[in-house]
């Protein structure tokens, strides 16, 4: 059951980490839309930027750079940078 979210890198150790408690998903609850499907690249990027600003107070451009730097290394988004 233990996986790493392909979209944000979060370890998923509990059933509650999976959207709808469905452990066949490869992405976590934070990367799911309300209907349980995985967020798009643009949705995830916007979400990450907002989250960095909210939790760390960083500048918007710096937050964008960090979000992209992070996404570049994740299986779900790698291809968007090649």
């Amino acid at each position: 059951m233990s996986k790493i979210c392909i979209s944000c890198g979060m370890p998923m150790n509990e059933v509650s980490d999976y959207p709808g408690g469905d452990t066949s998903n490869d992405y976590c609850i934070y990367c799911a839309r309300p209907d349980g499907s995985m967020q798009s690249f643009e949705e995830k990027k916007a979400g990450m930027i907002q989250f960095i600003i909210k939790t760390q107070g960083f500048d918007e451009k710096a937050a964008l750079k960090l979000a992209e730097g992070n996404m570049k290394r994740l299986p779900a988004w790698k291809e968007y940078f090649s």
């Binding site: 370890p11 600003i53 909210k54 107070g57 992070n70 290394r73």
Partner: protein, 193 residues
């Protein structure tokens, strides 16, 4: 030689390099050369590059392993525990990697950008878990209603100030062993309602 044995030997060599690199970088900083790391790990200089094609990859690997340890620890706690429990677990992990972490925060701007990204990502992960716990405590009215990023930055500011000036605060012993619980107590006192 059977391939499984060869595989095992390769794995052992990699572990030796990783261990030596971690020690050398912790002691000497990130400007330490791969020649020094090769000498410390008892392998030839070229062997390092068989396992890590570039210094960047070695650095990324080491920082990522440290970050993963921290992430797993915090993830397990942030679901239901208090901010105090989170901070204790956080400093426990940092205390085990104190010298390495001080190098990371003091030499961060000297590192290549893709390596810096790994550090930034670790910080964001800590902020993520911190935010989860702090928001819950703000809702329960056990923590003052301060913007979460300022609560986080106040904590990091305090912690990093002590770590960056370890030579003044605790030159001979572990800084976090000496001041960790005091930093936690004082910070909690500041944010509690």
């Amino acid at each position: 030689m059977p391939s499984s044995k060869r595989q095992q030997q390769k794995e052992n060599t990699r572990k030796k390099i990783v261990k030596a690199a971690y020690q050398i970088y912790s002691q000497q900083g990130f400007t330490a050369t791969t020649a020094t790391i090769a000498e410390e790990s008892g392998v030839s200089h070229g062997t390092i590059f068989v396992h890590f094609p570039s210094v960047n990859e070695l650095l990324i690997y080491l920082i990522q392993v440290f970050g993963d340890t921290l992430a797993v620890e915090l993830h397990a706690l942030s679901e239901s525990n208090s901010v105090k429990e989170l901070l204790i677990a956080y400093l426990d992990v940092l205390a085990k990697h104190e010298a390495f972490y001080i190098r990371l925060i003091s030499e961060r701007s000297l590192l290549p950008e893709d390596v810096q990204m790994i550090y930034a990502n670790i910080l964001s992960t800590v902020a993520f878990h911190f935010n989860k716990v702090i928001e819950r405590e703000i809702d329960k009215q056990t923590v003052k209603r301060i913007p979460v990023h300022m609560v986080f930055n106040t904590w990091i500011g305090l912690l990093h100030y002590y770590l960056l000036n370890k030579d003044f605060f605790s030159p001979e012993t572990s800084l976090l062993e000496r001041y960790g619980s005091e930093l936690i107590e004082v910070f909690l006192e500041l944010i509690r309602r």
